[in-house]
Amino acid sequence: MLLHLLKIELKKMTNYRTFWVVGGLYFLTLGVGAASGMEFLKLLARTIEGFGQEININRIPLYHFPDVWLNLIWVGGFLKIVLAIMIVISVTNEFTYRTARQNIIDGLSRQQFLVTKILANVMYSAISVVMLFVIGLITGLIYSPVVSLELIVTDLEFFFAYFLEVFFFLSYALMLGILVQRSGLTIILVLLTQTIELIITENLRDHVPDWLITIFPMKSIWYLIDIPFPRYAFMEIRDYLTFTTIAIVLVWTFLFNYFAYLKLKRSDI
């Protein structure tokens, strides 16, 4: 039954040109972006040279196993916004074309309609994980001076976190799309979310306990996967996942999908 519902969503999307354009751009940017790390390091080196400093970029193991995993995952996370916009388009289309209404008239329940969208989100998140893993594997094999299975399997648990991160954000986009129902406004809201939340948290920071900041939805993603680059400045980074940060992200993900369900259940479509 779940597979049947996923097929319905895929039938809608695979014949939609925007889907292929946005999907293609997403994976192209992910691939080319991930492969351009060395070029970025060269740029960094040139800039620093201008200040009379010198760094040996070859000593920064950006693409070495296991560093490559966390580096790629952290940077790749920024591109989830592209997928999110595609989700917004796919769900708000259903309201502007009124096809959500016809789907229900034709015999989908409101829950099933939502499930088709959630399953698609799971699929896009899983494909993102696979893409990033393949890109990481290729670049890692090219650049790593030492290749051993032990090094390759280190830090792989971060792919679970990456899956959560993408699925979390797509769930958020889906919920906003269902609540707002207009594509333009929803896309603007999705784009502004990080900024708005940052303004709120920074204004609150001095007045509330720290743990309260960590449970803000977009912040929960930042805490889930720490920025990995400070380790090249000889700083300690957290290279493991913590139960609390995973739990916070899971709770938000559940709530987003639940709010979407409530809205669909209660409204006249």
Partner: protein
Amino acid sequence: MENVLSIRALTKTFGKLRAVNSLNLEVKAGQVFGMLGPNGSGKTTTLGMLMGVVNPTEGAFSWFGEPPSHDVRKKIGAVLEHPIFYPYLSGQKNLELNAMVKQCPTENIARVLDIVELTERRNDRYKTYSLGMKQRLAIASALLNDPTVLILDEPTNGLDPMGIADIRRLIKKIAESGKTIILASHLLDEVQKVCTHFAVLKRGNLVHVGPVDDVGNGAEVVEVKASIANLNEILMTFPGTSTINHENGSCHVTLRTGFHSVDVNRFLFENGIVASHLQTQKRSLEKMFIEILSESH
């Protein structure tokens, strides 16, 4: 006869507005049921509730004696207000998608496309279709799962006379195949021609329900013309005359029960008058509809 649909005290309010007010209605198998009412009388809201897209405020309804569910909707083919499809998909692809939702075999697609005569254009995108083609595709989609009940809401809206004739022919063809049809329409002439039963809604209230055959019942009116000056007075002496109205130079005689046009003709002839025009007026649904609406304040 088996109840296809029964509605009990169904109510929908939007804020202060009672769009549908405690509606009770039954539709039996094989009926072609017309839902009439001016714009905003609650027809589409009612159909929306029956098809699960509008949440009822109060009341209940059942399809085939079962409580409403999404599975029961798969046995019903419905087009509400206007055709809804994915504009970027072809007619064929749209129907394939509908077949997946309704969980019916895709082999039906060729057959329904044939019925609505869209086979040639099936691979063109939906957004390139004319309004008439869109309406026909909607009917094809409603027929896709070979439903026992068909709901059509203003299926001829916005069509040219050719398109209207096409759709009317199609509805008649479907009705002849024994399906139960619920047809909401403004076109009273159409309802009279196609429907077996009809209901009239006004501001959310059910003001009339009954068979279409009853429309012709009631007092007979005969229109009489003759080239004499005192036709009026002579007709007044006819024992079967109830009232007489003058319209466009002819006398409209409303007869008492038991009297018919043939009696008027005989009476005139016996009085040495030859009528130049004598016609029984059939009471139209249109006339009755306006009467019903003006009676129910």
